[in-house]
């Protein structure tokens, strides 16, 4: 399948500042794609170069096979949902949504039917006559979506669309956006700094740092097999332990300081493995505390509880294991019959070679 959007060695300078450092990217038709990264990583700049609000300094942006060089935003098959929503406050909801149809050859009744359909899609049927000013944050968001979708763009660009909403509303909108994307089948490109949001919503995610793509993968690969310490740190929580790769054969032999030796599969070293010093990553939920009377066929290390953080459904423990440089963070589901341990208690930690990731450095 050919790419709907194709970026080739895209560079962007603002004066001396190098905002995009050679972005190569292909985004497929119908995909929910996310650009994820900390603020200042260039993700919004990249989105704006696709939209046509920023000209690239060099490189090629192709949409649907067409070179976008010199094509202004109003002539690109993209529409955008802005971070501030950019609702026109002097117009009604219907006038906002129908704004993009001003230049179309539709009759007035066709236009108002299209506006109604678009409003229906985002669950705002009957809101057309209201003043856009009088809407709540979530409703403005929906108007912005309806307004962008009415032109049936090839690509919908979303610039941190949920960041202004409260947590409950955000989670609800995430689900609605996924549903909407499946319904209309349009390619969505989402810019976000919220790793959880990216994991929940995307088919694929590009993690960006300092104007470059650090890793491009589907959410599960990104979470389970991060390609670098940086990506691993940015997405979810992870324990990092110094280790040594002692042998590379059909399996990779690692010696993890404090935990011991183990053999892992090739794909557990997504960036490749080299003999010598390395870092091993372990997610908190792949470790387990063994409570009294519990046994396991996994490997076990002795430790002492250093810190307890209670979340209601989960408890996070920091456990000091002799020989391991920093305490291991372990997350445990709180279940009936399972006590919350106190600081200072001696405990056993179960771990497994299969959950290790070998990272460079």
């Amino acid at each position: 399948m050919t790419a709907l959007i194709e970026l080739r060695d895209v560079q962007k300078y603002y004066g001396d500042y190098h905002a995009l450092r050679g972005i190569d990217l292909e985004i497929r038709q119908g995909e929910f794609f996310s650009l994820l990264g900390p603020s200042g990583c260039g993700k919004t700049t990249l989105l704006r170069t696709i939209a046509g609000f920023e000209a690239v300094s060099s490189g090629v942006v192709r949409i649907d096979g067409r070179d976008m060089h010199g094509v202004a935003a109003n002539h690109r098959p993209t529409n955008m949902v802005f971070q501030s929503y950019a609702i026109f406050p002097h117009l009604t909801v219907a006038e906002n949504v129908g704004f993009g149809l001003r230049r179309s050859k539709m009759t007035a009744s066709e236009k108002s039917a299209a506006v109604e359909e678009s409003l229906g899609m985002v669950g705002l049927t009957g809101y057309g006559a209201r003043r856009a000013n009088a809407l709540s944050g979530g409703q403005r968001q929906r108007v912005a979506l309806a307004r962008a979708l009415i032109l049936k763009p090839k690509v919908l660009l979303l610039d941190e669309p949920l960041s202004a909403l409260d947590k409950k509303m955000r989670e609800q909108m995430q689900v609605e956006l996924i549903r909407l994307q499946r319904q209309v089948g349009i390619t969505f490109i989402l810019v976000t700094h919220d790793q959880e949001e990216a994991l929940v919503m995307s088919d694929r995610i590009a993690v960006m740092f300092e104007g470059e793509i650090g890793q491009l993968a589907d959410p599960e690969t990104l979470y389970r097999r991060p390609g670098s310490k940086r990506v691993a740190e940015f997405i979810g929580k992870m324990n990092f332990l110094p280790a040594e790769v002692t042998g590379i054969g059909s399996q990779i032999e690692v010696d993890v300081a404090g935990l011991g030796r183990g053999a892992i599969a090739d794909e557990q070293a997504p960036a490749g493995a080299r003999l010598g010093r390395a870092t091993v990553g372990i997610r908190p939920e792949t470790l387990a505390i063994l409570f009294d009377g519990e046994s396991t066929d996994r490997r076990v290390a002795q430790g002492r509880v250093d810190e307890v953080v209670y979340y209601g459904d989960m408890t996070y423990y920091d456990v000091r294991v002799p020989g391991v440089a920093t305490p291991l963070t372990i997350s445990m589901k709180n279940m009936i019959g399972r006590p919350v341990l106190e600081v200072g208690v001696e405990t056993r930690v179960a771990w497994d070679e299969r959950s290790l990731v070998v990272l460079p450095g």
Binding site: N74, N79, M80, Q83, S84, P89, H90, R102, R103, N133
Partner: protein, 269 residues
């Protein structure tokens, strides 16, 4: 009795501010040539005299023309400056904006003298209504910028981009989205620039040609004591007109803020 003292102070302050202005209508309707108490009786004849005065009529027409032109040009320049200030980024922006606002605090007498020298000695122009208009645009523009800054800074910069994203050209986006949103600011700027130009004396005094503006003509009348009540009548009309225009201007400024759904961050009234 802290509250009591403050109240007395506030009342004295208001009297100090407005008592001289209250005297204007008082003597404008007083049936005596001499401006002094006690009042002798009610009359409307000074307003009648005003109406008959052809020279005054011509001065008023001059002033209205100058004020209208100055208001339009100052507001046009103000729109450009305020838009650039709010939406564009360029090197030295702060310094340039500050420099543009400077005429606001320059002594008018200095501006008047230097303009006279430039216009007469350097450029060799004849003084006319247009020289006054040029000078009034100079002093009104900072006010226009200050008012329009408020209007433009309240605008979400993405809003023009959103219009372009939906298929409008840059100018179309400005016309359809930005302009309606800043329109109250534009009206407010027009009215305030008009008022400033209409009242302005010093610069007009230096730069008028053979046709004086209204304030200059009033100043001329003061040499004839018999004309003083007529001046009072004219003053009454001017004060009423100024208050009216400024009130309308402020109404539009506030409506603009309400339209954009924003908090009031100051203004001239």
């Amino acid at each position: 009795m802290k509250g009591g003292t403050l109240r007395v102070y506030a009342i004295l302050y208001l009297i100090f501010l407005y008592a001289p202005i209250v005297l204007l209508p008082l003597f404008a309707f007083n049936d005596a040539t001499i401006i002094a108490f006690p009042l002798t009786g009610f009359t409307g004849k000074w307003f009648g005299d005003l109406w008959q005065n052809a020279a005054l009529g011509s001065a008023v027409r001059n002033s209205l023309f100058i004020a209208s032109m100055s208001a339009v040009f100052a507001t046009l320049l103000g729109i450009c400056a305020a838009r650039a200030g709010a939406m564009a980024e360029f090197p030295g922006k702060k310094g340039i904006i500050g420099f543009v606002m400077l005429p606001l605090v320059l002594p008018e007498i200095i501006v008047a003298v230097s303009l006279l020298i430039v216009l007469r000695q350097v450029l060799g122009l004849n003084l006319s209504n247009w020289t006054v208009i040029g000078a009034h645009v100079l002093i009104c523009t900072p006010f226009s910028i200050a008012i329009l800054n408020g209007a433009f800074q309240n605008l979400d910069p993405s809003i023009e981009e959103a219009a372009m994203d939906l298929g409008e050209t840059r100018f179309g986006a400005f016309r359809l989205v930005t302009l309606p949103l800043v329109m109250p600011g534009i009206i407010s700027s027009l009215l305030i620039a008009f008022t400033i130009s209409l009242d302005e004396f010093i610069i007009a005094f230096f730069l008028t040609g053979s046709n004086p503006t209204m304030p200059v003509y009033i100043w001329g009348l003061l040499r004839f004591p018999a004309q003083l009540p007529v001046v009072m009548a004219l003053g009454t009309i001017l004060v009423t007109l100024s208050v009216l225009l400024l009130t309308i201007a402020e109404y539009f400024r506030r409506r603009g803020l309400a339209r954009a759904g924003l908090k009031d961050t100051g203004g001239f009234l």
